[in-house]
């Protein structure tokens, strides 16, 4: 059941992205920025939490989930550290993702070559 929910929720979030791309010609960088920021805002408004509870990975794997982690982290840190938490929370909660992106990105860039395909 987990899997079906993840599939459906993840699929729907991607369809929203696809509609934006098809109809507005948005570049992927814009889309990604929009989804992360959108995730932060929806989480702050309390809308994204229920989606995550329902969809599991379907809601955390899309980039909105990255925004969700950022916002969740900040709220938690504000509860624990007060004002300083605003700056501690986001990056702490997403540290693994950021570090992995930079490191694996670097590693892959060193090992592989870009190719021209048909």
């Amino acid at each position: 059941m987990d899997y079906i929910k993840a599939f459906a929720v993840g699929g729907i979030i991607c369809v929203i992205g696809q509609i934006l791309i098809s109809l507005t010609n948005m570049t992927p960088a814009r889309i990604l920025v929009m989804f992360v920021t959108g995730g932060v805002i929806l989480t702050a408004l309390g809308i994204y939490e229920p989606i995550v509870e329902f969809g599991g990975a379907g809601a955390t794997v899309p980039l909105t989930g990255f925004g969700y982690s950022l916002a969740q982290g900040v709220f938690k840190a504000v509860d624990e550290h007060g004002l300083l938490g605003i700056f501690i929370g986001g990056v702490t909660a997403t540290a693994a993702g950021i570090a992995a992106t930079i490191f694996f990105g670097y590693l892959v860039s060193i090992i592989f070559q870009p190719k021209v395909k048909k």
Binding site: N25, P28, P114, K115, V116, K118
Partner: protein, 338 residues
């Protein structure tokens, strides 16, 4: 000197300018297309044994130039001047090739109109007596252009339906003041203006360039007192399939029917290849089709008289990011079999 230049940029050459040699070098994708047999040199892959795609593009440029000089029955010492351009920032392909060829060099930038720009400039120089043999060349490379103007090769973003693929390849032509055994002559040309109809989508260059093509071709026809059927073919550079359709429509609206004689190099080179969507673009596109296909057809007598119109989209990544619209330009070269 009266009468050499007509209003609106059409030049009538007093002294015939002959096509003396031609050379084309293409990448593997182009070699899979329907025009494959016409190209002189085919690379086995996009890097062609070089350390970067930029070096590979230079190799295409150099190979096409050397082939054209050889085809002309000349050596590099007989060449008075090299005129050429490409798409890369500061036209490095042409400049570095000029360094290696050791020729007097004028670098030209006309986006994808490079080949016609070089031929036009060269023809005027020869007509004016400033050279006997001039080498004109243009090149582009899918991988170098893609990363400069669009997105990285490995980026997983589908291309929009109006997108065109940059041709990997280079074409070079030796033009000459001597008749010799040469069969093709340039008699007139039209230097285009930058025409901007307000297209801002860099993935829709055919639409941005179509009005300029109509402008230049119709100006040329008018100034020459001809109608489209006086020519066996009117080639455009790289409007692609969608841009070609727009151009025919726009010309029709201006009261000229080009549909009988029009061919588009960008549509021809990848014709029938499914993955290529709207066709090809890039300086190399019409350069290789001209030097591979069109000149051969003229020499063999399959065409008597044609117009070769290379179109260019005169934008940069900066202007596009700043939301500026894309001006198009088109230069027309009239060629004839003698």
């Amino acid at each position: 000197m009266g009468g050499k230049i007509l209003p609106e940029g059409t030049m009538i050459l007093e002294n015939p300018v002959y096509i003396r040699g031609k050379g084309s070098a293409v990448g593997q994708e182009e070699a899979k297309g329907p025009l494959s047999d016409y190209f002189d040199i085919k690379a086995d892959n996009a890097k062609w044994g070089e350390k970067s795609f930029e070096f590979a593009e230079k190799k295409f440029f150099m190979s096409a130039c050397k082939k054209a000089v050889e085809d002309a029955g000349l050596s590099l010492n007989d060449i008075d001047l090299l005129l050429g351009g490409d798409l890369l920032n500061q036209i490095i392909t042409a400049s570095y090739s000029a360094r290696d060829l050791g020729l007097p060099f004028l670098g030209l930038y006309g986006a994808c109109s490079g080949m016609a720009q070089a031929l036009a400039t060269g023809s005027m120089l020869i007509d004016g007596g400033f050279g006997n043999n001039i080498l004109c060349a243009a090149s582009s490379h899918y991988a170098t252009a893609e990363r400069q103007f669009r997105s990285p090769l490995e980026l997983g973003t589908p291309k929009p339906p109006t997108g065109q693929d940059t041709v990997t390849g280079a074409g070079a032509t030796v033009i000459s003041s001597e008749k010799g055994n040469n069969k093709v002559v340039i008699r007139a040309l039209t230097i285009g203006r930058c025409v901007d109809f307000g297209i801002t989508d860099a993935n829709n260059m055919g639409a941005a360039m179509a009005p300029s093509a109509v402008q230049s071709i119709l100006t040329h026809l008018q100034n020459r007192g001809k109608n489209p059927l006086d020519y066996d073919a009117v080639f455009t550079g790289d409007l692609g399939m969608f841009g070609s359709k727009l151009m025919i429509d726009l010309a029709q609206k201006c009261g000229v029917d080009l549909s009988e004689v029009h061919h588009d190099c960008g549509s021809m080179i990848y014709e029938g290849m499914k993955s290529k969507r709207c066709g090809a673009s890039g300086c190399g596109c019409c350069a290789v089709v001209l030097n591979g296909y069109i000149l051969r057809q003229l020499e063999q007598g399959n065409y008597r008289r044609i117009l070769f119109t290379a179109t260019g989209a005169m934008m940069s990544t900066t202007s596009v990011q700043q939301g500026e619209s894309i001006p198009g330009i088109a230069h027309v070269i009239e060629m004839e079999r003698v």
